[in-house]
Point group: C2
Chain length 233, copies 2
Amino acid sequence: MDVMAFEDVSLPDVTGLSVGILGGTGAQGKGLGYRLARAGHPVVIGSRDAARARDTARTLAAMPRVEDGLVSGADNVGACAADVVIVAVPWAGHADLLAELAEPLSGRIVVDCVNPLGFDKQGAFPLSVPEGSAAQQTARLLPESRVTAAFHHVSAVLLSDPTIDLLATDILVLGDDRKAAATVQALATRIEGMRGVFAGRLRNAHQVEAMTANLIAINRRYKAHVGIRVTDI
Amino acid sequence: MDVMAFEDVSLPDVTGLSVGILGGTGAQGKGLGYRLARAGHPVVIGSRDAARARDTARTLAAMPRVEDGLVSGADNVGACAADVVIVAVPWAGHADLLAELAEPLSGRIVVDCVNPLGFDKQGAFPLSVPEGSAAQQTARLLPESRVTAAFHHVSAVLLSDPTIDLLATDILVLGDDRKAAATVQALATRIEGMRGVFAGRLRNAHQVEAMTANLIAINRRYKAHVGIRVTDI
């Protein structure tokens, strides 16, 4: 793809694209599900426990500015039937879950938003991942999927707060499949205030995931829910 | 230090603080030297070759809005006499240079802004550093210095462009010595448009350095000189 100014980037029309969320009952998954449903996308909350997923779906469906019938719940395999599938599971269960879902995720656009972090009394720090990053682990486990990484830095607290209309933050989108990345950029850009910015190949995903440790340090210091904006585009 | 909103952070008064720049004849060093001199700080451009450093100093001194007598050139040891010393050397010579300068840098606030990156036909990627990051390597080599890391993401092109008055970007400042970090935050904040934001301990420096590979990918895609803003503070 050619070099271009941000406002000139022609992203695909993703109106009506359905989104499944693995780990959709967690804070990040719920928050992303809420915002994407608010943007008019059918959202399938996935969980190991389908009943729990349906509970979360009911909660999200009842939130402000979500149209009737947009949010549903299913087991994780059910959530894999969506056009785009976001991986928002805890790092601890990441590899095992994805290994199980390689077949239902075959051909799908997969968006990994998992940050492999450890915590001790000095705060957060990145964990070492044999593949280099959570996103690269996903790419290894899902060779037939179109793997991207995005949504690492956006605060679950802000995502889930219905009184906040505008999330003035950028979403760094990584991927080796440029068309898949462009779809995820477009999806991020559907959320009010957000821009999906292409930020490189999966081999550069580690530092994007790990940067979340720095944002947590900033949050602690300044009592905030920070995100990132890319300047000059 | 307590949690606080950004506008409440009381940073030290750094008016008149002198700044030495190791590798001050390179693009990043020159750009930082220009902006800090413009902000009223005495700047000593350092280089292995003192004559070259003096050449660069003369160039910077002649640039718009730099007061007479603020910029000088010296060999690297000479630049170590400043209050704060910025390390802006190429990664290839990083360890060797710092090992030589451990004594003159003893007790100084040292600011590492080096990004260990490799380049191939797919673009930039982070190099593996035995210590974890350039900043941690500096801390190992300079046990008697107050090591911080900052200024990784700011574009040398924008820094050096005298027609740009405002650099609307944030500088992530890392360090285990909170007072040294606060001094560097204050120094960054002296540059018009910039804020120095405390972003964690040195163990979290790797991803900040490596993120430069992503910013390079963004620059290529959008034909820009991007930086980062931290939102919500």
